[in-house]
Each structure stands twice: as C-alpha cells, then as structure tokens.
Symmetry: C2
Subunit: 420 residues, 2 copies
Amino acid sequence: MSMSVQSNPYGPNPSDFLSNVNKFELIESTLREGEQFSNAHFDTETKIKIAKALDDFGVDYIELTSPVASEQSRKDCEAICKLGLKAKILTHIRCHMDDARVAVETGVDGVDVVIGTSKFLREHSHGKDMNYIAQSAIEVIEFVKSKGIEIRFSSEDSFRSDIVDLLNIYRTVDKIGVNRVGIADTVGCANPRQVYELVKTLKSVVSCDIECHFHNDTGCAIANAYTALEAGAKLIDVSVLGIGERNGITPLGGLMARMIAADRDYVLSKYKVHKLRDLENLVANAVQVNIPFNNPITGFCAFTHKAGIHAKAILANPSTYEILNPEDFGISRYIHFANRLTGWNAIKSRVDQLNLHLTDDQCKEVTAKVKQMGDIRQLSIDDVDSIIRDFHAEQQTPSLRPAPTTEDDIEPVAKKQKTE
Amino acid sequence: MSMSVQSNPYGPNPSDFLSNVNKFELIESTLREGEQFSNAHFDTETKIKIAKALDDFGVDYIELTSPVASEQSRKDCEAICKLGLKAKILTHIRCHMDDARVAVETGVDGVDVVIGTSKFLREHSHGKDMNYIAQSAIEVIEFVKSKGIEIRFSSEDSFRSDIVDLLNIYRTVDKIGVNRVGIADTVGCANPRQVYELVKTLKSVVSCDIECHFHNDTGCAIANAYTALEAGAKLIDVSVLGIGERNGITPLGGLMARMIAADRDYVLSKYKVHKLRDLENLVANAVQVNIPFNNPITGFCAFTHKAGIHAKAILANPSTYEILNPEDFGISRYIHFANRLTGWNAIKSRVDQLNLHLTDDQCKEVTAKVKQMGDIRQLSIDDVDSIIRDFHAEQQTPSLRPAPTTEDDIEPVAKKQKTE
C-alpha cells in the first residue's frame, strides 16, 4: 500500500471488505465504445495497431464492435482474434440470437450482451417487456455458454431502470451461469453514492463478477468507476481518452491516475503506465483530436507548479503538492517561475540552475524585480534569466548600472541575452 | 424536481436531510486559482471582462488573487471591487497579518484565508505546528471581522491532515465566528466517499457554512463537489474550464452538467447556463487553450449520437440517451448517420430531411449500402446523401442503372452530387 494511502486518515480501512480497489481488471473498449465516437473510423491496420498497443499496456480484455455492425467489422474481429494477444478478446452484441450466432463464430474469448431495461429504452427503443428480456437473455446465454465462450449480461441505462426488475433479471442470469453481469450508466446520469448503493445491493444478489460502464456526460465517470470498485465491482470499462458516444466514458488514463493514488504497487505491477502517453497519442492521431489541456497525467501542465507557495514546497518535497509521481509516466515535473505569482524559493532554485551565487536576501530582492516585471507583461524564461543575470552582475560591480525598473529598461537586456 | 430524478430509484430521498444539492452556491475562482494555471496572465482589461461575464452568468462569489502577490494584483483587486457587481468579491490570502492588513483595504466583501495543515505542508512549507496555526488564525479572523468583512478559514491539503487536528481548528474558528470553513483537496487525492465522510463529520462540529475546493489530478473534482453538497457543504470553488494549478479544479461547466442532472429547475433559475459557451470561449482565448474535445456540455460531440441503436431511440425520444437538454445551453443535437455503425432509423430520418419518400424496407436496403460503403472509407454527409438520392432515383426508374456496390462505382456519384 502506497504512502499516500497510509497517511490519509479517510483512506481504505479494514471495514472495506467489499472493495476490489486493489484487484480490479480493465475491459478496454476503444475498439467498440470508442468506435462510436463522432470522429472515429478505424481501418483494419489501425485497429490492429491499437489492439497490440492495448495488449502491451496490459489491459485484461479488449472489446470489439459487434460483427453484425458491418461486414468489415466481422472480418476485423476475426483478424484481431488471430493475433494471439495476451488480453482476452470480447465482442459486444444486442441480446438477440441472430447476433449471437455470428459472434460465436469469430473466434472471440467472450461475448458481451446488452439490453435496455429502463422505461425509456423499453418504450422507445426495442419495445419489449421484462419477461421477453429474460427469455431472450436465457436463450442467448445458454447458446454462448454451449460454445465454451465467456458471457456477460448487462442491462443498459441501469440507473433509470426499476430496481426490482434489475435484481430479478440479474439473479436469473447469474443462476444460469453468466461469467459477469454489467451495470451501465448509458446516459451519464449516475453519481458516486448511487453507484455504491446499487453495486453493493447487486453484490448481495449475484455470485458472479460485476462489470461497470460509465458515461461522462456529467463528469463523474472516473469517480463512479472508483466507487463501484469500492462497492465490490471487479471490472471497469474504459477507452483511451474516454472516446465513445457523445463525450465518452471513463478514460483509461484518468482511471490509472485515480487507481495509482489508491494502490500504486498494484497498478505499476500490472499496467505499463509509462506507455500511457504513446497510447494516447496513437488514438488521438487516429481520431484527429488533441490531448485535452487538462487531461489527467498527460495534459501539458499536469505536473507544472506555479504559485510561489506551491513551488517552495515542491522544491523541498514533491509529495507536498503531488499525489502522482511524474517519473512513473516518463514525464517531467516543471516549476513555473517566470510569472508574478512566483516566490523567492522558485527564483533561488533558478539562480542555482544558472550556477550563480546569491544570498537568500539577494534572491528575495531579485524576486521583487521579477514580480514587478511580471505585472507589466507575460514573462519568458529568457526574461527572468536576464533579470537574474543582470542583478547578479550588479552585485559584483554595484556602481556600474542602476537596477532596471521599467519595461523600457528591461527590454534591451532581454534581447541582448537572447543574442549572446 | 426534474423528471430524470423522479424516474431514478437511486435518486435523492427524504433521508438526505444533510443535502444542499438543491441550494448550493458557487465561489468562482478563475481570477485566483485560474491565475495559477500555467498559461494564465490576465491583464487588467481581461480580468474586468471575465469578472463581468462571471457576474452576468450569476456566480455568487468571485475570488481574486492575493493583493500581496504583486502591486498590479492589488490594483486590479481594487478596480474589480469598484465595478459594483452583484457577485460578492473575495480575495485569497495566507493566514498572516501582513497579508490581512493589505486585503481589508482593497474594498473586498470577504477574505478567504488558507493555511497548510497536513504533515507534508507543516514540515516542508511553513514549518509551523497546530498551536501556532490556531493562534495565527484567531488573530487574522478577529482582525478581518473587526473591519466588517466576511471571513473564511480553510485548511490546505485537508485530506492528508490529521482528523483530530482538523476538527480542533475548525471548531476553534467556528466559535470565534468565521462565516465559512473550507476543506481543500489541494493535491487532488480525495475520492467521493472520503469527501462524504469528512464533510458529514465536519458538519456535526461547526455551525457555519462549509466550502469545498477540489483539484482534479485524479479526475474526481466534479464528483467530489457533488458528494460534498450531498453531505452538507454549501459552497463549491470552481473555475471556467477548471483552470488552476497543474490540471486544475472543479470546472464550472462540468459542475453545471452534474447539478442540472440533479435539480434542473434550481440551476436554470439561478445561472444563465445558455451563456456557458461564451464564457468558456472568453477564458479559453485569454489563456490560449482549446475547449477539450470531451468537455461536458460544450465539447464538440457532447450531443452527437452515432450508433444505430442510439440514433433510433433518440429520434423517438431524446431522453432515452440524454440526461441534459442541449437547448438549455443553446446547443444543437446531432444524429451522426454517415458511418458504418448507422441504423435504418437514422437513415430514414435523413431520407425524410431530404424530402424523399422510401418505405421502411427500402430504407433498410439503402442503409445496407451505406454500411457497405462505410466499411471502405470514412463517409461524409454528401456521400450518404448521394447514395440515398441515387437509390431513390433507381426506385423510380429501376432498370436505368445497377445499384453501386464498390468504391469505384460510388465515387463519381458522390463527386457529381457535390458539383450540383
């Protein structure tokens, strides 16, 4: 258990007997849910490249688009099954024998079956009642099992489904021997305490594993996944950068951040998190999006510290303001010192980097000059280095030149510095 | 209470007596926390523009950078206090009389005081013990109160602080009459159930309001804010797009999405959510970032539906796959039909838009052609329209021309369509 958990009085404790936080598994759905992302159109070569990268990263399952979606989808599914990856290959189908018959012939290790159980979906999507749903489920499950293939049964829009209907159907499919049941927040409406209650209740009704799928419409997909694991769910659906329908699902990288904060040893022993950035770049390029500026871990400033008080403490001990270690991801920490919120500890650290020698009082004095300049305009590192070098030179020959106090005075110095 | 909540069996219930979900307030910190974002350098004009936009949006408080950060920071604080905004103006200072003396002279309505209480920050930042912290807090609080100004006391890194230390200091400051106490997840390590427990416990110790501040390093800042409100916190710190130190804090837009899913009437009565997009664009331009592709509400595909089964149900009733109504934000829903995952209901809807007439069976037939083409390459809307128009023309004069089946056949049709 990592230091961050031990030092947190509200962290995991022995009463968390339900928790799977330190033994969760990932169902990676970039090639299924991710294909439903607006910009996604993966050709065969791209699918294979992504599948291999996911496998190398260490995901437990790779989920693929239904083979009945299109002829090429079926061929691609077969091709990926033949790659001989360590990860188990799944495909995702409607709860229907027509789909199941095609799925079992592709060579997949498992089939994920889904059907809408909410009033909304029963009225406006398939139009079937719960008895019909249960009968279809039993038929499909028994057929897939007879082929020696893993089977998961999931409801859709679970958080707007009737609790009694849900528990009834889950108990039914558990009894006939599904490998997993799935809860899906298809519209992204769920919040963590609801998730905890539903998973905990379901855990008392079924003996199989529980898988959870969370959309991110209201920004809770990572937190809901974490809370589901606390309540006893075992598997979480993710995609790279969270791509999927609308604004997507639980992102692989964000969930890694969350889980490392809970149990760094488990995550690092199982997943190659130092390859996260390459994996995200691969998928971002394939679907033509930029990594969000505020992405956990790989956002451009995820390890940038700016305010003086933060920089001071980070320089003394990175754990003061970091719950994640950038080195785990092959990323560097950055102390932003070229701005008016800077403090003298950050400037002193820069003075040391420049191999100059100033006393603490002198560092405070030059910091005041940096802040004064930062009030006038946005500073570059060159600007600050010029102010520091200039100040340092004055300390050696104090009478030579007055300290710069306005932009006009500074500008030529900064320029001169750049041409040296 | 909105329909989505009523239809959710795990939603709010009468036992949620602690909850402030339907009466929360916002402390908007784009001009304080947001100024600590790597790319932020707000000149006076930009600060005033942002402050006015936030006020128009309806935020309850606007928090500004400490007046001791730099001379211009102090002048800007005074200038914003003189704008006569409806929102109350706060500034954010260290727990120190030097800072407090400057802050009370700026004209602010309130002062937010913060001090690090975790072992990490006590050892590596200010180096003070809890007694010293309590004495400083009392002196600063009594001074600020004597000036007739609101005062908040917050610990920093609260989730890695000792629970007994925390409750002691909160009780002390509550007794001497602070307006609010603050909990801060400064490093972004907290998870929802920890938040619920800490806020609930604190609620039993203090009689003043509770404010919460969540960093987003592990992707839980929105969920933690929501759960804090459920446990009885009253105020949440947000910034536009979540900008702040590292990858930032609870974003205003994401929290609006979360809160609308819980109590749409309250949110719409209080905040001008249709101005969210303009507000985000204003700040994104000022700090030179793009709106993340997966941003809640304003991400480019937040209301785009792609898979055939989703499109079908959305066409019947948008609530099937939407927890938010795009019209609330002045945004349009989009059904993505030009891809191989499409279904015949989406294509039928496009046929209707084109004012053509095909039977359901004919729509299924042309959908198969679209999927076949989508397997070969990424489709544009023009491509699909060409396939539909071509198919429609054939139905009128069946013998004229065979249906296109390969890319070579389709290509000229698609090109011809574009030049018409």
